[in-house]
Symmetry: C2
Subunit: 351 residues, 2 copies
């Protein structure tokens, strides 16, 4: 069914021109070919195939989570990932943090004129692989082209729908004094991996991004009945932002132990060279979970059972009654200082 609208219906990738042009965003034949030969080929699934303006989906009744995130990372490919897998993980993780099971993603591609088609091809393939691993489908999409700046830019917005199948009320209102504060692994690898790729810094061995989907481990925590009070992924602003946001919203004080916070020697060294605070560096596969004190050990064992959190899950602190600041950091020698919300951007364009 359907006409060959251009006299050429050859779906061979090498029939694509080598770089993105303004024509690819124009709604005409060039865009149709790009969608058919690249996006549809890699992301192929029934809902996407059937969708022109919108995907039609069937959902069971109940609570859903809905989230959106745009991913602006330079370079678009880095050790341990690329903007395609990152865009899947980021939105899957936002849904997981709301206690939802991620189901469907949209993908809005904003392509810079001059972007090599082979880069786009790799990124979209990586996106599909990440979606498969995370158990979600990309069901609807859009493509726009913006004028050339460096000729290598590729921004992806993903929005996601997840189903909420439990009855827990997660959120700052549920946090109480005495709760334990956990992280699922060592911090800062994503930000340092991207920065190193951008600045052509060589670490030996290379720092590899922690970008990964968190939905499966969160689902296991929930189904094991861990009393999770709140979760936050440590993305922009890193651990410091995640701690400050939950503590600030809860109106309580979080105390964390500097020695207990896992940071690899490599990331620590890179941060010293670059003048960065590792607690401010973005991750894309790390999250903070505030859980009932009595459930902390059991939660750590569940974290250890998943590859994404097997290496260095840790209990890093506890919730105190409201003090004078949202987050305090206890140092190795027992001195307590404020761990502030980062003021702005330490590492631009890494997530």
């Amino acid at each position: 069914m359907g006409y060959s609208q251009d006299g050429l219906s050859c779906p061979i990738p090498h029939a694509l021109p080598a770089r993105i042009t303004m024509q690819h965003g124009g709604g005409g034949r060039a865009m149709q070919r790009l969608i058919r030969d690249l996006f549809a080929r890699h992301l192929d699934n029934g809902a996407l195939q059937a969708s022109r303006d919108a995907a039609c989906l069937v959902l069971a009744a109940g609570r859903i989570a809905f989230s959106t995130d745009s991913f602006v990372v330079r370079p678009v490919e880095f050790p341990g990932g690329d903007v395609g897998s990152l865009a899947v993980h980021g939105t899957v993780n936002d849904l997981a943090m709301a206690g939802a099971t991620p189901k469907y993603l949209s993908a809005g591609f904003i392509l810079e004129e001059g972007l090599p088609l082979e880069v786009l091809d790799r990124v979209v393939r990586s996106m599909r692989e990440a979606a498969d691993r995370a158990g979600v489908s990309v069901v609807t999409g859009d493509t726009k082209v913006i004028e050339r700046v460096h000729g290598d830019g590729l921004i992806i917005n993903t929005s996601g729908i997840g189903s909420i199948d439990h009855r827990l009320e997660l959120g700052p209102g549920a946090v109480r004094a005495g709760d334990a504060i956990l992280v699922n692994g060592d911090l800062g690898r994503h930000g340092i991996a991207v920065m190193a790729a951008r600045e052509r810094l060589e670490f030996e061995p290379p720092v590899v991004s922690d970008s990964a989907p968190l939905a499966a481990v969160v689902a296991d925590l929930l189904s094991a009945g861990i009393r999770i009070r709140g979760m936050r992924d440590c993305t922009r602003g890193g651990l410091a932002a995640a701690l400050n946001e939950i503590a600030g919203d809860a109106g309580l004080t979080f105390e964390v132990d500097e020695r207990a916070i896992p940071v690899s020697e490599q990331v620590r060294g890179a941060c010293e060279i670059l003048g960065l605070n590792p607690f401010h560096v973005a991750c894309e596969g790390r999250f903070l979970a505030v859980v009932a004190e009595d459930d902390a050990d059991r939660a750590l064992r569940i974290l250890e059972s998943h590859a994404v959190s097997a290496t260095h899950p840790a209990a890093i602190g506890r919730v105190l009654p409201r003090g004078t600041v949202p987050v305090q950091l206890r140092s190795a020698i027992g001195v307590t200082r404020v761990l502030e919300q980062p003021s702005g951007e330490q590492l631009p364009r890494i997530c």
Copy 2:
């Protein structure tokens, strides 16, 4: 509840700095303030307030539509709208074209360093007003900052969820020979309005964008039992792209009558000056509906009853059995020629 995390909790808009900086995308205090003092202030609603990573929503069981679109328009403000209202209308209309009732939107803002805050403030306010008029809520959002190019860029991705409450199967498979082809108004005003604003062309009177929400008129067509076979909004690639896509997918031939296609004198004149084909120019409040022949008159009366389609709704042609081309245009003197899918982009960055 909550700390004042920066010692300054003054929500007065003039406390905002005058332009967007990279700090506003960093996940720290500058971003928190932007979210609180601008996005949350204008878009305020319960779901958005409660959402950090994702909005939690309750949906009735059944079919939903899910759609995404990124809006890249230069200038961001133009006669009859701006990128904020456009981003609401575009996704609301994509959902409406799928026969869905739009409910929830996400908003992903990609801000160019240097963007004046007052422009962002106007655009977000306009977005809220458009959402209110269209009966949707912006329930979750994200903000990123990209490096300066012209210092005036603002891209908005909106994704949307709508509920499908009818049992019609819309789509190219439902189209049959004999069906009538309708449009809801005169074509090309949006593209010409944006182009005129960009190139500082003055038309007297000015050409005003047709950007508008189509969900209410589509809902009326559906509830009146009009046998709609398929709908497509005439956005990128204009009427020609919409006709070619439906006809191509259906594997039938659409014949349209050039004299019946409504185009204002102004748009016709502007297209002549600019060397454009008005059937290729994007609209954001115009759609093509293929309906059962017997329902065409009743459908036109419903179109006339809505402001968005009151002026020049028209039956422009009919569906023929499969011929040699997807779309043929019958001219004033009775000559038939091919109306091709546009090849690329006639008017960049207008939607």
